[in-house]
């Protein structure tokens, strides 16, 4: 019997530290408070104080539900459009906006805040999506490692195919990585429908290394990150150098601003939302100055709103690229799979 007593005791102890025993935390809504479920991607993050202020001002609690990356988020929204997962969504980006719009995931809503900058990135004449932030994918370099090899810092797509930079570039596979796909789209925009495949053949001949995801490319292969890998040139984000600032206050890495592809992230009210009025207020909030001000530090992206100052580290190390490449969302939607297949044939074949 002693054995059974021990087991029962263990079960009681275990139940005490289970999820069921932890009710009444900050997640519980106060009586009379309204909740808006915001469906978003894994990278979503916001300053708790800013969210709390919004809650105090409006009586709306934002319940954040994360659903994978931008692609996974979009496809889940499409799949559940008959019975939506929430009231508003944030994180559908340039690459997937067309699919979400074609499938009628979002309801029409033009935020009064949209005129203050977000409208510049509009993808839809019915105003179903509002731009929240801009995150450019750019080639990053480790200048110290290049100097050690007696090489100047490259500047353009063309430089990367130059024999001087043989075996120095690492990129992500566009089939499995969002920055990988953005970089391929950048080459499509730069070289056009005819030339981009040829460019990748030249990159391949120049020893480009392809890995499956950003984590491996940046933290393991790239020499400028903590992983101190072998390659000094990597596809990452315009914002990445802001996180690589040394004790002397100087950035250790640098983004090549002529190799950038612009990705815009959008928010909107979901069709069939239970709480449309409040969902609209949440979209307004995402475009408002207090939220926009903290997107760089929290999500490593640039505010879509005009006149929002970047943090100091960013002004020094990660300015917003001025003339990034872009492609229309509809073009991307129509060609994405074909381009990935062509890329595979050129680089893997």
């Amino acid at each position: 019997m002693r054995r059974i007593a021990i087991l029962a005791g263990a079960a009681v102890l275990a139940a005490g530290c289970s999820t069921g025993g932890s009710g009444g935390g900050s997640g519980e809504a106060k009586t009379g408070e309204r909740t808006v479920v915001l469906v978003t991607h894994d990278s979503f993050d916001a300053d708790a104080a800013v969210l709390e202020k919004f809650r105090a001002d409006t009586g709306i609690k934002i319940d954040v539900r994360k659903s994978g990356d931008a692609g996974a988020l979009t496809n889940q929204l499409v799949l559940t459009k008959g019975a939506p997962l929430g009231d508003a969504a944030f994180g559908v980006d340039t690459t997937f906006a067309s699919r979400a719009l074609d499938e009628g995931v979002f309801a029409e809503y033009r935020s009064p805040e949209a005129d203050k900058g977000p409208q510049r990135y509009s993808v839809d004449d019915k105003n179903r999506l509002s731009a929240v932030d801009v995150g450019d994918v750019c080639v990053n370099v480790d200048p110290a490692a290049l100097t050690a090899k007696n090489l100047p810092v490259p500047a353009s797509f063309e430089d990367l195919a130059d024999a001087k930079y043989k075996d120095l570039l690492v990129v992500e596979d566009p089939a499995t990585s969002s920055p990988g796909l953005a970089f391929v789209l950048g080459t499509v925009a730069h070289y056009g429908n005819q030339g981009w495949v040829n460019y990748w053949q030249r990159l391949k001949a120049n020893g480009v290394k392809v890995v499956s995801g950003w984590e491996e490319a940046y933290t393991q292969e790239f020499s400028g990150s903590s992983g101190k890998g072998p390659r000094p040139i990597v596809v990452s984000y315009a914002s990445s150098p802001s996180a690589e600032i040394g004790d002397d206050g100087k950035p250790r890495t640098q983004a090549l601003l002529d190799t950038c592809f612009r990705q815009v992230e959008y928010a909107g009210v979901l069709n069939g939302a239970k709480n449309t009025d409040d969902a609209r207020k949440v979209v307004d909030f995402l475009l408002s100055e207090p939220f926009q001000k903290q997107v760089p530090e929290k999500m490593y992206v640039y505010p879509a709103r005009e006149g929002v100052a970047l943090p100091d580290a960013w002004q020094k190390a990660a300015p917003l690229p001025q003339s990034p490449a872009t492609l229309a969302a509809g073009d991307i939607q129509a060609n994405r799979e074909r381009w990935i297949t062509q890329w595979r044939t050129a680089v893997r074949g």
């Binding site: 275990a14 997640g27 990278s43 496809n75 799949l79 995801g213 933290t219 903590s226």
Partner: protein, 533 residues
């Protein structure tokens, strides 16, 4: 007919809760998402494509190779844990479970730095790395109860050690090895992160392709075609496993105290191999610890200090310690649920077999309980999206779904660890007890539970560890303020900045320590259950 088969009704009643759980949280969602795919165009084209069959071949091939490596590496460790009374066995028992909790992304990165070329060999080794523990621990669970006297008799009659192992020991262990191998095979066939990371995009399996088609391309017809192939392949493997398990004789079970002893003679060679395997398992683990301590300016503890906070410039909404607490809570729920379901299912399966029910029925039930291990988490997860809103409370966006989804994976493990022991209990012991007047419940309490107690606790430890390390369902369903350690590690490693990276690896170390502590705690419970028989 039921009146002619005492126990049949009880067995079927016991099977009801686990079956109901399986239907609602597995069969229904998977059938719904596959059906949605079959309604579209393109299923036939995918099935007819040569690439698809290459995919099937590679999936099965790499999983079979990894399973073979895991079995060969796991058996010496099982011997060490079951048959020897060496110091340090307790630590090894816990340490072999560590790979199970580590997020594949960090293990993948570690393997990538140890084997820079990646490729098939790296994929097979990494998959085996995760699964040696399955073989070592579940086989040890049976081995430690196997009566040593048959082996001693064979030795006295002049058989060599090898001959004794092959003709006496191995036949007794075969069901346990088969059980473990089928679990390992399913884990390897559905491993996702390892193939992506170490294959460098050049290798894909059914699992990675289903992920890409479902999550990135929303090509549901293509995904449905591949999911059907996956189900068929898994089904085939499970049926083969069930048939091999059926051919087995009851072994004589003993308490552990008298089977473990100090190794003698040639046994030391096996012990040496076991230590070598453990050392190899520790290499990638040590690499992670080293990374948690290295900074640009040499060694440092910055990552560990950061665990008290929320990452570089607040990358997280919880601190590392809070994440550890969240992990323990979620895993506790999942393990308790899985233990209840797994024990009921095992009791039902073994009782059905004892009632002389048709073996086909038993095998079919057994196979059904195992299916969740072999079907893509993405298929299940996307299936949830289109079905679970029909249940009250819209579980799709509820935190309750996390332990439910984890229990789906842990329950089959519990069954696989309990069933071999329950089945190998000599029926004559039970008959003797019944003859002496024990009620059926008393027979269970006096015979089955003491003999299976160790495996039950091993299963609990195992299930707990699997739930602790579970990433797929958790990362989809956990809310930011209830993020678990694997989710936190995944988030940190996906951000630039040295401190985030160090903190990610420090969190890995914390996860390992939590694992070892939890397993050690459960092992202590085990001590109380031994020696009463």
């Amino acid at each position: 007919m039921a009146h002619g088969r005492p126990g049949l009704t009880g067995a079927l009643l016991a099977a009801l809760p686990p079956l109901g759980f399986l239907v609602v949280f597995f069969l229904w969602p998977v059938a719904a998402i596959i059906r949605l795919g079959l309604l579209g165009d393109g299923v036939g084209a995918v099935l007819a494509s040569a690439d698809t069959w290459g995919l099937v071949g590679f999936t099965v091939g790499q999983a079979a190779a990894a399973t073979a490596v895991a079995v060969v590496a796991g058996l010496p460790v099982a011997f060490l844990l079951a048959r020897t009374s060496l110091r340090g066995n307790g630590f090894i028992r816990a340490a072999v479970l560590v790979p199970f909790v580590l997020p594949t992304v960090v293990v993948g990165l570690a393997f990538r730095s140890l084997l820079p070329e990646g490729g098939v060999v790296a994929i097979v080794l990494a998959n085996a790395f995760f699964n040696v523990a399955v073989v070592a621990r579940s086989v040890a669970g049976v081995w430690s109860h196997v009566d040593r006297r048959a082996e001693d008799a064979a030795r006295v009659l002049g058989a060599s050690r090898l001959r004794t192992f092959l003709s006496v020991t191995l036949p007794v262990l075969r069901p346990a090895i088969g059980s473990a191998a089928s679990v390992v095979f399913l884990f390897c066939a559905t491993s996702f992160g390892v193939v992506l990371l170490l294959g460098g995009g050049e290798y894909s399996t059914l699992e990675t392709e289903i992920y890409l088609r479902t999550v990135q391309l929303l090509d549901l017809p293509g995904a449905a075609a591949l999911s059907l192939l996956q189900v068929a392949a898994v089904f085939a493997v499970l049926v083969i496993g069930a048939v091999t398990r059926r051919r087995q004789a009851a072994a004589r079970m003993r308490g552990t105290a008298e089977t473990a002893r100090r190794p003698v003679g040639g046994e030391w060679a096996v012990v040496a191999v076991a230590y070598a395997v453990v050392a190899l398992l520790l290499v990638p683990i040590a690499a992670l610890v080293v990374r948690s301590l290295s900074t640009v300016d040499g060694w440092g503890l910055a990552g560990y200090r950061a665990l008290a906070g929320t990452g570089y410039r607040g990358s997280l909404q919880v601190s590392g310690w809070e994440a550890a607490e969240n992990s323990l809570r979620a895993a506790t729920d999942a393990t308790l649920l899985a233990l209840v379901l797994g024990v009921l299912a095992s009791v039902a399966l073994v009782s059905l077999a004892r009632t002389k029910a048709r073996p086909g029925l038993v095998d079919a039930l057994d196979t059904a309980f195992m299916l969740p291990l072999g079907v893509s988490a993405v298929t299940v997860g996307f299936g949830y999206l289109i079905t679970l809103d029909a249940l009250p409370g819209d579980l799709r966006t509820s935190a309750t779904l996390v332990p439910l989804a984890q229990a789906l994976v842990v329950t089959p493990l519990v069954i696989r660890m309990l069933l071999p022991v329950l089945r190998s209990i000599d029926d004559r012991l039970r008959q003797a007890a019944a003859t002496l007047g024990a009620s059926p419940w008393r027979v269970w309490r006096e015979i089955d539970i003491p003999l299976a107690g160790r495996s039950l606790l091993a299963a609990a430890a195992f299930g707990y560890v699997v739930a602790l390390g579970e990433f797929g369902a958790t990362s989809f369903l956990a809310r930011p303020d209830s993020a678990t350690l694997p989710v936190v590690i995944g988030r940190l490693v996906a951000r630039p900045g040295e401190l985030n990276n160090q903190m990610a690896y420090a969190a890995c170390t914390l996860l390992m320590l939590v694992t070892i502590a939890v397993v050690a705690l459960i092992e202590r419970l085990r001590v109380a259950s031994v020696g009463e028989f």
